[in-house]
């Protein structure tokens, strides 16, 4: 039989059979190799570090990563019991304990236990950036108007950019828009609007739903309800990307200790976001604590030394521009032995230094260092 693409023909029915076999094998591969049983964040954190969200004295929900409606309700109820509130923003350092043991807690929970007259609320997002902090802060200000905001400025997080709807769920679903006077806020509002009203799945720029949107949503719901393979696709994508990162690391010999460069555009936007956050906090009568968080100092940090020095100077000078902002450099308060290891990321199988997540004792040290700066 003649081939229709000028390639030597093989028996077409055999090719259809091969396609069928390949498709079934593809389904099996997807269901097994890309099982997607772990979330991307959990997988990225590694097996040596555990997630722990801070709780109130009665086990109340006082810490969230995604701000959903449940968190919102619980937080409002919690703060109603207290005269004042402090909002902690953070990244995975705030919700993770390296080599966690039973009964151990993260620093916001330890602080809550010591400051029993103040409600401590925490919103931490893995790999958070300061633009996300700006949005989160603006929204929580409308909800609870905390007396104080605590903002860690990680060098790593200034390499991140943009808003992730997944970690700002209630903000996005409610169609929230910040009050703006700066182009960065305008840009972030545009991103929020995009997350609230994503372009129609059929590609229309119109906000109204097309028949394609309706059918696609119905089919996706049905498939998610009836097949775990379909339901786990987001995590499967995460697994796949982690695998690719691992492959990249192996190929280029990248590991947790490898120096990473600052990305100028992202760095500038995040610095501006910090400045705006401090300004908005001041306008609302809030105090702000900006701190350089702990990092391993017994070994060379994974940054260009000059860039890291400039980063610390930039954060400090940003903070010092505002009277209501206190700055603290806490980079060296957690000694080397209290940090942990993380699973190999370069394919060597050898555990690597974890520069972000310390053990419980580190949380105690950080809590002790922060407490004196939280009370007026």
């Amino acid at each position: 039989m003649a081939s229709i693409d000028n390639r030597p023909a093989i028996q077409p029915s055999i090719d259809v059979l091969l396609l069928l076999i390949g498709s079934i094998a593809g389904l099996v591969v997807m269901a097994t190799v890309f099982s997607g049983n772990r979330s991307f964040e959990e997988a990225a954190l590694g097996s040596l570090t555990a997630v722990h969200e801070a709780q109130g004295p009665q086990g109340e929900n006082t810490h969230c990563q995604r701000i959903n409606e449940e968190d919102q309700t619980a937080f409002l109820e919690f703060v109603s019991k207290y005269a004042s509130t402090i909002l902690f923003l953070g990244n995975s350092q705030t919700h993770s304990i390296n080599q966690k043991k039973e009964g151990e807690a993260v620093y916001p929970e330890l602080i809550q236990k010591r400051l029993d007259s103040i409600a401590i609320l925490t919103h931490s997002m893995p790999n958070a950036n300061l633009q996300e902090f700006l949005v989160s802060h603006a929204w929580w200000t409308e909800q609870i108007n905390p007396e104080m905001v605590v903002v860690p400025a990680f060098m790593d997080d200034l390499r991140e950019d943009g808003l992730r709807g997944d970690f700002l769920k209630s903000i996005v679903s409610g169609g929230y828009q910040m009050e703006t006077s700066h182009p960065l806020e305008v840009k972030l509002n545009e991103q929020l609007d995009f997350l609230t009203n994503p372009p129609s799945e059929a590609g229309s720029e119109s906000k109204e739903q097309t028949p394609q949107d309706i059918s696609e949503a119905a089919l996706n719901d049905w498939l998610s309800e009836h097949t775990s393979v379909w339901r786990n696709r987001a995590n499967a994508r995460g697994d796949l990307f982690l695998g690719l990162y691992g492959f990249r690391n192996k190929l280029f010999g990248i590991n947790a200790s490898t120096q990473r460069k600052m990305i100028p555009a992202r760095y500038d936007r995040n610095l501006k976001a910090l400045d705006l956050l401090c300004t908005r906090a001041g306008e609302n009568g809030q105090r702000v604590l900006v701190y350089i968080p702990p990092i391993r100092t017994d070994v060379a940090p994974p940054y260009d030394p000059e860039e890291y020095l400039n980063f610390k100077r930039d954060i400090e000078s940003q903070a010092q521009r505002h009277d209501h902002v206190v700055f603290a450099n806490l980079e060296d308060i957690v000694p080397g032995p209290l940090w942990g290891l993380k699973a190999s990321t370069d394919g060597s199988g050898e555990p690597e230094l974890d520069f972000m997540h310390f053990q419980f004792s580190g949380h105690e040290i950080l809590a002790n260092a922060l407490i004196p700066m939280l009370t007026p």
Binding site: E201, A265, D268
Partner: protein, 488 residues
């Protein structure tokens, strides 16, 4: 309806099944209605635009066919009616806002108080494609290259045939209508090839293009002042591959879906980035558009009488007569300006067109120098040059404005901003990886595959290919991004 969706997979399975289950005449009516449903899944209101364009040209073509050559004036009038309606639709839906904005800008510059009110008009998907198809049909009938189709269902299907309705390939009437008249029978070879092409297309779209999109979007959203020349080159390459994967994906799925229905539509891409000249590039990129532009715009502008409509790609070919160099050059720049404007109602697209015209012009002028390069070394010189020029052409195509375009080119041309890395490390890695994979894929398809096909290793290799593709398509299949060419 968009191809990269579960909705399409369900729709296509049902349509293909019923299509082959029906007898031949009802089959075509069914396919016509299915095509309208396909389009209506986006906006059913806009079906009227397609039907208006189709009915106009069906009626006009019959008139043109019936009128003898002696009634030249009447024939020209009918042709003008068709062109006015088709180009009028295009003008209204696609270009009205552009002209309004520019006229208002001009009034403001001149200090005039007059302002033209803005109309909120949604661009119907695929209008540039199906109007070009209907225009070419009428012109072919006018030129007597083609007899007018008497059966509306054949003509209606030529216009509305869903696999190529929204983003091509731009088909010539004879190519499709002749096949419909032949009434193709079910063929397992078509089925296997068709399914293979659909899988290839989905893979290119959902695995490659959609995953490149956020990287490209973020990079193009950056302040150009923070980018280096290397960054601009990286951006150009990344977007060059994104748009290639995206558009080639659409064409693969269109071809595949048509093949499953027993119908062939022309190829639209053939590894464009291995081209060793811009002329070759345009025989490998969006082939159906470049051949359309050649036959209905470039050659008439050069003064060459078109005696046939070949449907093969390439711009700048002449048939028999040789126009003067001046006229050829004028035609070249006019054609490319219009071609750019066809892509989008923005000055950036016109600049993109003129960029290509300029480099094709330079290429023509430098042609004699080629003989100084030993034959064996020519590709080593011409391939990187062509690749660089074609990739950098994507800057105005993707940039938001002319200002951004010139800022980005400025970073490239200024020696002080040439070096430096302002993007995330992964961005450079992805660009290098994609380029390498593209070259390897070409080598595999042209060197390894022909040998493999005659061995037993072919069978496990094929199964492995399908396994990987199906698994990845299932993981990534989400209609998160429309095809880039939908907006044109």
């Amino acid at each position: 309806m968009i191809f990269n969706s579960v909705t399409f997979l369900v729709f296509f399975t049902v349509v293909a099944g019923l299509y082959w289950a029906l007898n031949r005449t009802p089959r075509y009516w069914f396919l016509f209605i299915a095509s309208l449903v396909f389009y209506g899944f986006w906006k059913w209101e806009y079906l009227s635009v397609i039907l208006l364009s189709a009915v106009t040209d069906y009626v006009v073509a019959r008139k043109l066919d019936d009128l003898p050559d002696a009634k030249r004036r009447q024939r020209k009038t009918w042709l003008a009616v068709s062109l006015s309606i088709n180009l009028g639709l295009l003008m209204y839906f696609k270009y009205l806002l552009f002209f309004t904005e520019n006229l208002n800008g001009l009034f403001e510059t001149l200090g005039a108080a007059t302002r033209i009110p803005y109309w909120d008009i949604l661009l119907p998907f695929g209008i540039s494609f199906y109007t070009f198809e209907t225009i070419s049909y009428t012109i072919d009938v006018y030129r007597r290259h083609l007899k007018a189709e008497r059966e509306f269902i054949h003509y209606g299907l030529f216009v509305a045939f869903f696999p190529k309705l929204v983003a091509g390939p731009i088909q010539r009437a004879a190519e499709l209508i002749d096949q419909l008249k032949e009434r193709p029978a079910f063929d397992a070879a078509f089925l296997s090839q068709g399914l293979n092409r659909i899988l290839q297309g989905l893979f290119l779209k959902v695995v490659l293009a959609d995953n490149l999109a956020p990287v490209v979007d973020e990079a193009f959203a950056m302040d150009p002042g923070l980018l280096s020349g290397i960054d601009v080159i990286t951006l150009a390459f990344l977007f060059g591959f994104q748009i290639y994967f995206d558009f080639a994906a659409y064409s693969h799925i269109a071809l595949g879906a048509a093949l499953v229905l027993g119908i062939r539509i022309p190829e639209n891409f053939n590894y464009p980035y291995i081209s060793t000249s811009l002329r070759e590039f345009w025989k490998r990129w969006h082939i159906s558009l470049s051949s359309w532009i050649r036959d209905y715009l470039y050659l008439p502008l050069t003064g060459v009488k078109v005696t046939q409509s070949t449907g093969k790609g390439g711009i700048g070919q002449s048939l028999d007569a040789q126009p003067t160099a001046r006229r050829r050059n004028l035609a070249l720049f006019a054609t490319w300006g219009i071609m750019g404007f066809w892509h989008g109602a923005n000055w950036t697209f016109i600049l993109w067109g003129l960029y290509h015209a300029t480099f094709i012009f330079i290429e023509r002028k430098l042609q004699p120098l080629k003989r100084f390069i030993p034959w064996a070394f020519r590709p080593a010189v011409t391939w990187p040059l062509t690749l660089g020029v074609s990739m950098l052409s994507w800057i105005p195509f993707r940039a938001e404005s002319l200002t951004t375009t010139f800022q980005l080119y400025g970073r490239l041309l200024n020696p002080n901003t040439l070096l430096g890395m302002g993007l995330r490390e992964n961005t450079y890695l992805v660009a290098a990886l994609v380029m390498t994979l593209f070259v390897l894929a070409w080598a595999f398809a042209h060197v390894v595959l022909p040998k493999l096909q005659h061995t037993l290793a072919w069978y496990p290799a094929r199964v492995l290919q399908y396994t990987v593709m199906v698994a990845l398509i299932l993981v990534f299949l989400r209609p998160i991004n429309q095809f880039i060419y939908f907006q044109f």
